[in-house]
Amino acid sequence: MTLQAATLQAATLQAAIATNRFGLGARPGDITAAQSDPRGWLEAQLAQTGTPPELRGLDSSATRLDATYAARKEKDEEARKPLRDALREAYRDDAARRTRAAIATDAPLRERLVHFWSNHFTVSVSRPIVAAAVVPYETEAIRPHVTGRFADLLLAVTRHPVMLNYLDNAVSAGPDSPAAIRRQRGLNENLGRELLELHTLGVDGGYSQTDVRELARILTGWSVAAERDRDTGTFLFRANLHEPGDKVLLGQRYGEDGIGEGLLALQRLARHPATARHIATKLARHFIADAPPPAAVAALEKSYRDSDGDLGEVTRTLLRLDAAWAPEQRKVKTPTELVISTARALHGTVHGSEMGHGSETGGDGGPPTGHADPTVRSLALLGQMPFAAPSPAGWPDQAADWAGPEAVVQRVDWALTVGEKLGDGIDPRQIAEQALGPLASDATRQAVSRAPSAADGLALLISAPEFQRR
């Protein structure tokens, strides 16, 4: 092989990694587009801050919360049902739009970061009060900040009405606040705890139960405008819920300062070394390996500290790590990654909305499992309906959680279903080349080309380890 040919081959491999590991899977043409400068192709996406067209014109979270409150208030069962149905439909429609945005985007790294941070700051339809507003939450609180400062992201999330409702802070009252004294209300430490454990310091970040309580006290008053208030469904600081007096969080004293206490606490938490470590570890686990190399975590941690939590800079540091570009595909795709990358691989080849297949079964008040949109239906079938994570910790990010026996069989069954639905008239060898490029092994190429039908060929490609991993 000539030197030139070898260089080209290496660049193609890097491009395949760029599109599959850092992006959301290659569409036809993506690997070629990324080939001349795979890292530059990704870095350029960090500057693309616009809202994807699929998500433009989405209702605001305030509109959705307002409608949710109205449905709750309606006592007449017959009048309430259509209101509730409309809210459920709104969520499903949002979920489909969000999924379509991920399939169509030219900035898949940015979209992946949105998904990552949205999962870090999980809210879930398991709480009906926020169910209709989860996608607007992402659009308002997460999306604008994924390459900005972590402190800004943290503030946007913590003061967002959906988070304040999801983790109960909206109704939390300082034990000595006027509201508590008058109406027997009191403290709820749910947000205070998860903010420390999940959002910032991490569970080993060196805080105590006292700190949980102090942060909860600091955040009392961070609430949501109700029906009787102006601007229903927006952030509202309720001074009458705020706990008066001094607080001490992580050894630092917070003098009485109303909403200012929380603002200061979030700033300090964003700068805390434990937060840097926690964020670095999660990013490295997401992009490199379930058990990421300590040197990679350390590099990201340093980048976070040196840049004062500039997430764009931390992402650029990640893109410069050799470990992140190792050819071995160490991450097993989550169902979301699998479904979206499949749809991207087939982009322009088949009508995307034909993908997947399932049935309208609906839950009894649980997250809906049926949907008119086949990609969303596929997500529900494979166990990762958007914004339906089982707890505030969000979806797990390790193979053990997604590649269990039942799950792998289901993924293969799903691949077969996709093949049967969409394989007709396509050339799976070409799809393999465009989606995986040099990542496709000889065994996979051979299996795809020798498959008895295009349907089976496509199903084998989707089932192949190189496609199940990234």
Binding site: D364, P405, T417
Partner: protein, 423 residues
């Protein structure tokens, strides 16, 4: 599923290469080691409020401490269902209340794992890993117990039979480890079979993670098909092939289906013997309620699962122990928002025909302010591991040495509670 598909799945198991392993393995039979005893572990995720599920209504501090979350006395309207004159069951568990009188329900109270902080995720990890440290090991105690029962290797005769069963998508940590376990979850997808699976299995030859998972998953699928006897409601009619809509299976099982199906899988003579399943909805920070509300809803689901599990097991119920556990309890006092926050000790249940029930096991710490753990939670006076060890020892026949060394290792591992099982 049609018999032909079933055969194809089975054919594949043979072709996945267990033959060589089988020849090298001593023919230890699960049946001989374990007998017909069944064990089901139900994990209530989110932290069940033990003081609301099993109320110490006669404790003199109960009413004032619990305030608006206090349940009424047994003789009052909507009151608790009496157990022993001191404790009463939440009315949402009415369907299993008769089991107490039958001697098939045992309540343990003021129970906790060794975990003393208040993170769900660490607490669940420790509950499942069986050590004294969150994330102390990547395997679960129930998987290690299965390993001790000879389930660490595939035995001869019934190739692919697995002692453990994970119900639902994914295998919970408590069942993860070196012993292969079956898993079962409903799915409306068309099932891949025969030739196609052979091709996929060949592609996975160089990927042990996917290869092992596929093999184990197919074995469970085959087992489940057999145990469920190709029930029309649970299977596909192959409608996709001719373009018609497939018959839907319910993706989210309701609690009754979940319990019944689990029971039927365990009842199968050649099926698994040990199952784990999760129930969600216990993290009641708001709108907890008493006889109605979020907690009553969750308790109602638990009750439905237990009742239908018993129905699904049929006669095998008499050889069954069901343990219902959670990662921690909740604050003894209501919080400021009509709920409770993360706490420490709670209640646990043992149910089943094999349980020596009809009693409440508790070294009751009391609810006076100075008796509460850190002034806020029900104080732990018994270790959940001691209960689980008692069940594993007397019901499944594990010896004490193995329990301490392999299943629940770590400092201060408490002695097994004797006499939990009917003799």
């Amino acid at each position: 599923m049609s018999p032909i598909l079933d055969l194809n799945r089975r054919h594949l198991l043979a072709s996945l290469g267990t033959a060589a392993a089988m020849a090298a393995m001593p023919r230890v039979s699960f049946a001989r080691t374990v007998g017909d005893q069944r064990f089901v572990l139900i994990v209530l995720r989110g932290g069940m409020d033990g003081l609301a599920a099993v109320a110490p209504y006669a404790d003199r501090d109960y009413g004032s401490l619990r305030g608006r979350l206090a349940l009424a006395d047994p003789n009052a309207q909507g009151g608790v269902l009496d157990l022993n004159g001191f404790f009463g069951l939440n009315p949402a568990l009415a369907d299993i209340h008769p089991w107490y009188a039958e001697g098939q329900l045992l309540v343990a109270h003021a129970v906790a794992t060794p975990y003393r902080d208040r993170s769900h995720f660490d607490a669940q990890d420790l509950l499942e890993n069986g050590t004294v440290t969150p994330h102390g090991t990547a395997t679960g105690w129930l998987n290690r117990a299965i390993g001790q029962l000879g389930g660490g290797q595939l035995e001869g005769g019934a190739a692919g039979r697995r002692l453990g069963l994970a119900v639902g998508q994914g295998v919970p940590l408590v069942l993860r480890g070196t012993a292969p376990v079956a898993s079962w979850a409903p799915s409306p997808l068309k099932e891949a079979d025969g030739d196609f699976l052979d091709r996929v299995a060949a592609l996975y030859a160089g990927d042990p993670l996917l290869a092992n998972a596929l093999k184990a998953g197919l074995e469970s699928a085959s087992m489940a098909d057999h145990a469920l006897n190709a029930d029309a409601d649970m299977s596909m009619d192959g409608g996709m092939a001719d373009g018609s809509a497939p018959k839907a299976k319910s993706v989210r099982l309701d609690p009754a289906q979940l319990g019944e199906t689990t029971g039927r899988l365990l009842a199968d003579a050649n099926g698994p013997r040990i199952a784990a399943l999760d129930l969600q909805g216990w993290d009641t920070h708001t709108q907890q309620g008493t006889t109605a509300g979020r907690l009553a809803g969750a308790l109602g689901n638990l009750s439905k699962v237990l009742v239908s599990l018993r129905a699904g097991l049929g006669p095998a119920w008499s050889q069954t122990v069901v343990a219902v556990v959670t990662e921690f309890g909740r604050t003894a006092r209501p919080n400021g928002t009509g709920g409770t926050d993360h706490g420490t000790a709670t209640a646990a249940f043992l149910a089943g025909g094999a349980v020596q029930g009809g009693r409440v096991l508790a070294d009751w710490p009391g609810l006076a302010d100075d008796r509460l753990y850190q002034g806020r939670d029900l104080a732990p006076t018994q270790d959940l591991r001691a209960l689980m060890k008692g069940v594993l020892q007397e019901h499944l026949g594990l010896d004490a040495g193995a329990l301490n060394k392999a299943v629940f290792p770590g400092d201060g591992s408490p002695a097994a509670v004797p006499g939990l099982i009917r003799t």
